[in-house]
Subunit: 453 residues, 2 copies
């Protein structure tokens, strides 16, 4: 804690791409850094969907924060939850730790799912932001095939084999592509009563095309590729209701009901709770999803020593839209703030933040992706190949890189999915995943835990 230290105290809340890169860039700065996170690891979120679909294990895309920062002598990590900040006394208030004083505060706590005012949809259509979300989604996807194998009613069986993904952004496209591969390749020959390739995968997007931030030709390419692989893509389709076993969709004046037991949410994000706390304590403005409007140097208006970066920030000083919530923006913002802090300590100033956009990549499935670089737009195998290497390159730790490379190479040739475990509390009791059954457990939790089969 070193509260007596004379050194400039930098406190970073959040160990995602933004926060971790700030800490890394301050390694040799004349400051003391405290990184606070609820989790003990950095999560490589762009590959989270591969955990959700059984290609990778949680540890493959997670790196312990302490390990990354081990050689940073000026940095400590505190595992705790921030419950408040006090910009007057310059303190961060934690749940289970004395207040942490700061000279400079960086808030990078990201975003979570947004159900557009329908929070009751959350348990029915889970989203994908955390490792636990991914393991739960993996369980739900693979348990659906198991339930279909056991189902005697043909209508119900069809509902178990119908997968609806709400939201046609990169995550929705990635999930739809991966679930199609599960159905067509990974599970081939696994079942005796169902044919997994008869599964129906439906991708629903409210706007008029998939991947709205991309150019229309790449959107069309993505839609074409998914359709060729058997995905039903619905655009201009609004989800108006979600029940445990069906989705109601409005396309123009046409209202359809889709019977589906597995509904996955990839439609929207809202700011994490820290956004509200910052607004309360600093009178910062929030946008309509709760992100903090930041100045051109990423600080909060009126608080030059308080910064908001990464997905939680709404940076409107470049172009006519806020910068997108993607890893490259977060990384560059983190490095910028570290540089700004160092400059200030030396009595120097720094130009406003400018995001250098190297392009966007979205993967559709094996051998297929779309890439939008400034000078060229690509799709198909080449885009996919670039996607693979870009992701391996940016995986933070060397051992993760090699393991992920190995697992991808293996899966590529075998079409296998080694990590398709159905684990967790609910796993010992498949029946509890069937929302509309009158199932009553015959064993209590303790007995369930001890009875092996």
């Amino acid at each position: 804690m070193n509260q007596l230290s004379q050194k400039h105290q930098v406190v970073i809340i959040g160990g995602g791409f933004a926060g971790l890169n700030t800490a890394k860039a301050l390694k040799y700065a004349p400051v003391e850094v405290t990184l606070i996170d609820k989790r003990n690891f950095h999560l490589f979120q762009p590959l989270l969907y591969q955990v959700a679909t059984g290609t990778l294990s949680p540890a493959d895309i997670s790196t312990p924060l302490r390990l990354v920062l081990r050689k940073h002598q000026n940095t400590q990590v505190i595992l705790d939850e921030v419950i408040d900040i006090n910009p007057t006394q310059q303190q961060v208030i934690l749940n289970d730790h004395p207040p942490v004083p700061y000279n400079t505060l960086i808030v990078a706590t990201g975003v979570s799912h947004h159900y557009f005012g329908n929070d009751h949809w959350q348990p029915l259509a889970p989203g994908l932001k955390t490792i636990e979300d991914a393991v739960n989604m993996r369980r739900q996807i693979f348990a659906a095939f198991e339930a279909a194998e056991k189902e005697l009613d043909p209508e119900q069986q069809k509902a178990w084999l119908t997968f609806v993904i709400v939201g046609g952004g990169p995550t929705g496209v990635e999930l739809a592509g991966a679930i199609t591969e599960i159905a067509n390749s990974s599970l081939k020959g696994d079942f005796r009563r169902i044919d997994p390739s008869e599964a129906k995968i439906i991708l629903i997007e409210g706007l008029d095309r998939l991947l709205p931030p991309y150019t229309p030709d790449l959107s069309a390419k993505a839609e074409e590729t998914l359709a060729n692989r058997g995905v039903t893509v619905m655009t201009k389709a609004m989800v108006t209701d979600i029940q445990a076993d069906r989705v109601t969709v409005k396309v123009g004046e046409d209202v359809q009901q889709i019977s589906a037991k597995t509904i996955l949410w990839a439609a929207g994000v809202k700011a994490s709770k820290m956004g509200e706390i910052i607004a309360q304590r600093t009178q910062a403005k929030l946008d309509r999803v709760g992100r903090v409007m930041v100045e051109s140097d990423l600080s909060v208006a009126g608080y030059p020593n308080v910064f908001v970066i990464g997905d939680l920030a709404n940076f409107m000083h470049q172009g006519d839209k806020p910068l997108p919530g993607v890893a490259p923006v977060a990384v560059q913002e983190g490095k910028y703030v570290a540089k700004l802090i160092t400059k200030r300590i030396n009595g120097e100033s720094l130009e406003p933040f400018v995001y250098s956009d190297a392009g966007s990549l979205a993967v559709i499935g094996q051998n297929a992706a779309v890439a939008d670089f400034k000078f060229v737009r690509l799709s198909g195998f080449i885009a996919w190949f670039i996607w693979v290497w870009a992701h391996i390159y940016y995986l933070i730790e060397f051992d993760n890189k090699l393991i992920v490379m190995f697992e991808w190479a293996w899966n590529y040739f075998t079409k296998g999915r080694g990590a398709r475990l159905i684990t967790g509390e609910a796993s010992s009791d498949l029946a509890s995943m069937i929302p509309d059954t009158s199932y009553e457990p015959t064993l209590n939790k303790m007995e369930q835990a001890t009875a092996k089969v």
Copy 2:
């Protein structure tokens, strides 16, 4: 299901070493096989402690049952819980599936933890049998170091850095060795206020030596190796009470209290619930831990078409003790029963089961193990080297083998533990792991799940 089929119906309950090897050995037999398990994967239990201590990921030691049996055209897998058997009607009763008829039944549901009548110790001193157990244990071990880093009270800090393992069999020895490596190597340099190498690891065994089934010289070697690595080994020590933050141990007349926040159970096993069901339905005798006493051909007395194999069986027809609950016994029993079924269908008979003991191996840590082969006893590096290759060799699927080899090689040279994630429900709230605190959550579950930090 094929209830109309004329073929001999073999039903196997449990996809562990015993059950899965029966199914595999019946691939070309003129029978139809149904394998029932609550889980969708086979677990390579001998390496479970490596998941609990952060070296491997759950998927590294788990293989989907359907994948293993994919090419067995005569075999189906049902994911369900067995709630009863009916040997008169020759049916297995499932929780969420119509009854499954059998001509031959094989029960291989294994064992779970045994707290010797102190079941209230279970939440305080968790055992290690399932993937969930391992992930929970991993969370508890690594969260203890985190809590120690935050703790201001020196006595409490010491208790967080004290790890007690109850039971000096192979699992206890493996856990003690691995936690010592975590403290001395893996976490080196990770913390700023604590020195992980000051952690105290205490291994408690009720008998007069570790690894009781081994020869005394190997037990002595194991104890010496652990002591050299900093483990406090207590033998002839009976645990008389367990509280959330202390263990009471009686050594002779001396009663000691050990302050420890992390207490792990590796002391005893009891039969799974299927043992009782078999006893009720067939009048089979159970031993004192609930295992089923089997005939010399592994069948249940009076029911020549009902077999109990693996850890759930007590086979007393070879030597003066039951066969040990280890993987080689289970594998050989599974293969024997498959052979017996095939012989019977051909109107032939088979000699009683004889276990061929190739020897025992227990690992103590990096570069150290003990091996007891009939012709030679080994310890140290050579035993460890044999242990490594034997375990890689027997990992069922080829991709798991390569990944585990890779991770081990990597960990060997880096002393790293890439899979040391603190995940699961409790992970977002470290404070809830401190049993004696008056902590009150400030956010409800939903808010906790959505607030990222």
